[in-house]
């Protein structure tokens, strides 16, 4: 009952923020599932950092601070960064992790250089960079919620349309290629969807923590099921749960930033899932282990 009364007394801005965070959680959870299953959990981290120069260039070129233009710049830079990672891995002997680390840090460095350039011209202030790094969930407006809903919904619909192809790509890429599926195109499609989810999330949780929004709900969902369909659904739900609870918790006291709180909520969901999920969970594992020992002991005694 208490939670209900909290909900009723939620003021309008907080409700908008909570809805926005929930939508973001759903989208990043559902799309993050694919990244986690393909062992590309940290790709999100790289894309979100690589987006900074895109934002700076978009601002330098257009001189406007319209979110849509900046978001477009971020998406293009993030996308180019990912393509660079893929080509480094394909064409050289440098492994995935190093390629990711190089693109992540150096793109961010380029962004920083551009940012200091903009700062010197007196057009922007440091606040822009802080927002990029940590997000500013409190600034989510109705318009943003609409953008998140439309773009995020469209991304999820695309994964549903290409469900079979993506499933094959995730679980057996070589088999998919041998059947004649264009794996590289599918790879780029999936990455592009990921880029959309990340760019949408930058405003709420920021670049540093965006990777957690992709990874945590998916890892939690993985513990409860072995089926892709259910995993995507559960990851979306967990993401929404973390978004809403993080927003509400951070609103109860002053000076608790929303982004990090959402991430911690998602981490708690992971902790609970790893401990208590049926069959896979640690507690379950322990019980099974002990039951097996007892059964073996009884069998041994019976034999004597």
């Amino acid at each position: 009952m208490e939670s209900l009364s909290i909900l009723i007394h939620l003021d309008y801005t907080l409700m908008i923020v909570a809805i926005g965070a929930a939508l973001l959680g759903t989208v990043s959870g559902a799309l993050g599932t694919y990244a986690v299953l393909r062992r590309q959990s940290l790709l999100g981290d790289a894309i979100s950092h690589a987006a900074l120069p895109g934002i700076a260039i978009a601002f330098l070129l257009t001189g406007s601070k319209t979110p849509l233009i900046l978001v477009l710049g971020a998406a293009i830079a993030g996308w180019l960064g990912t393509l660079l990672i893929m080509s480094i891995v394909r064409l050289t002997r440098i492994k995935y992790d190093s390629a990711l680390a190089i693109v992540l840090s150096t793109f961010f460095g380029v962004g920083l250089v551009l940012h200091t350039l903009i700062q010197r011209t007196g057009n922007a202030n440091q606040a822009g960079l802080d927002t990029f790094l940590f997000g500013q969930a409190a600034t989510i407006l109705e318009r943003d919620v609409l953008t998140i809903g439309i773009l995020g919904g469209a991304s999820i619909i695309v994964t549903l349309v290409f469900w079979k192809e993506l499933k094959l790509l995730v679980f057996d890429e070589d088999f998919a290629a041998s059947l004649g599926f264009p794996t590289r195109t599918l790879d780029i499609l999936l990455t592009s969807l990921l880029v959309i989810a990340i760019v949408l999330g930058l405003q709420a949780v920021g670049a540093v923590l965006m990777s957690a929004m992709l990874v945590a709900p998916a890892v939690a969902a993985r513990q409860w099921t072995n089926r892709l369909r259910l995993m995507v659904f559960l990851a979306g739900c967990f993401g929404a749960l973390a978004g809403v609870s993080g927003t509400i918790i951070s609103s109860t006291a002053s000076r608790i930033p929303t982004g990090p709180t959402i991430v911690l909520c998602a981490t708690v969901v992971v902790g609970i899932s790893i401990a208590f999920a049926p069959n896979r969970g640690l507690v379950w594992h322990r019980i099974r282990h002990q039951r097996n020992r007892r059964d073996l002991k009884m069998a041994a005694e019976a034999q004597e």
Binding site: V36, S41, D97, G109, L133, V208, Q223
Partner: protein, 369 residues
């Protein structure tokens, strides 16, 4: 002021070399992202130590942060050992959680104290020399230079003393274990070193760009050599080049020094990626082109060889009709014939192509294979 410039440059070079050396092993062991994780996850350690000491330059800060770094590695491995979470996901879970705790601690309790988030994340090389080591009234130079210098010496000693063990554990962990070298010990030694280096460097370049210093030069060097010792030396050189050119770039355009060093890292990597012999993009493209012509030439000489001395040889080796026999595009055929003539695999006798001794040898060898 010139004094100040030299100080910044020295700090940048020492930091770059100190980061590049352990980075070599991270790149080879496919653990580069651990440095990303450590550099973010040390934040709560720094914050807690800062609350205790109320100073950003106390040695306790470095110790606490390095401890948090090792703890992060331990966390990631514990998560992995449950077999419920893969390595990449374990990293992606651990460091944002620890980092979030750090951010919340800062904004909740440190609002009035001087602990700037930007300083932690981005660093600022330009102000690093301002904090100076003073003894007996003499100015001994910037503290940051001493800190990074000590860390560089530590790294050098560790790599020098355990060179053999590191090499073995990196390239053949099971053999190292079988010979009794305990790869776990070396692993944690290396991780402690990475943590200490990251903490020392974050002051100057911040926790995101430290990754560029750790991963950039070794990955670039990895494109250039097959030898571990050479890779270490090359990484140190490339790190210094990045630092010097980045500093030069930053003072020229008056932009963030750390950002400029990272930009140079990307640029140098890109150039090496393009031009390095054998493994570079240009070398790969040229090899592909050459292989295409060589293959076509081999097909041509095999064709000629198959019909050599037979009654149909005259029609089969007529230059004008070759494209039909080989089912090639006519222009392509002309080009291949020109290529083969140039290589003296065939010679032209009016409208006929005749195998030379060399061409016959190529055909025979190709057929045997």
């Amino acid at each position: 002021m010139i004094h100040n410039h030299l100080d910044i440059l020295l700090i940048a070079i020492v930091t770059a070399v100190a980061c590049a050396l352990p980075g070599v092993f991270l790149v080879l062991r496919r653990m580069t992202l651990m440095s990303d994780a450590i550099s973010h996850a040390i934040l709560p350690g720094i914050v807690l130590a800062f609350f205790l000491t109320e100073s950003l330059s106390s040695p306790l800060l470095i110790l606490a942060a390095a401890g948090t770094g090792v703890l992060t590695v331990l966390f990631v491995e514990l998560l992995q050992r449950t077999k419920l979470v893969k390595e990449d996901a374990a990293i992606g879970l651990t460091f944002p959680a620890l980092f979030s705790i750090g951010v919340i601690l800062i904004s909740r309790f440190a609002g009035n104290v001087h602990l700037d988030m930007d300083a932690v994340l981005l660093g600022e090389l330009a102000i690093a020399p301002l904090n100076r080591l003073k003894a007996f009234g003499y100015d001994l130079g910037p503290v940051a230079l001493y800190v990074m210098g000590t860390i560089l010496v530590l790294n050098l000693i560790f790599i020098f003393v355990f060179y053999k063990e590191l090499k073995l554990a990196t390239f053949d962990a099971s053999l190292a274990a079988a010979l009794g070298f305990t790869p776990t010990l070396i692993h944690y030694g290396l991780m402690t070193l990475v943590s200490v280096t990251t903490v020392g460097a974050f002051d100057a370049v911040g926790s995101i760009l430290v990754v560029a210093l750790i991963a950039g030069p070794p990955a670039t060097a990895y494109l250039m050599t097959d030898k571990l010792s050479r890779m270490l030396i090359l990484s140190a050189i490339i790190g210094s080049v990045n630092a010097v050119s980045g500093y030069w770039f930053a003072s020229l355009f008056d932009v963030s020094i750390a950002g400029a060093i990272a930009t140079m890292t990307l640029l140098v990597f890109g150039v090496i990626f393009l031009v390095v012999p054998n493994r570079g993009l240009i070398a790969i493209a040229r090899r592909h082109a050459r292989q295409k012509w060589e293959f076509a030439q081999t097909m041509l000489v095999i064709h000629l060889f198959n019909h050599e001395g037979l009654p149909e040889a005259e029609t089969e080796s007529a230059i004008a009709d070759l494209h039909e026999h080989l089912s090639w595009d006519p222009t392509f055929t002309t080009q291949v014939v020109r290529y083969a003539l140039h290589n003296r695999c065939v010679s032209q006798d009016e409208a006929q192509l005749i195998l030379t001794e060399q061409g016959r040898a190529i055909a025979q060898q190709a057929l045997v294979q």
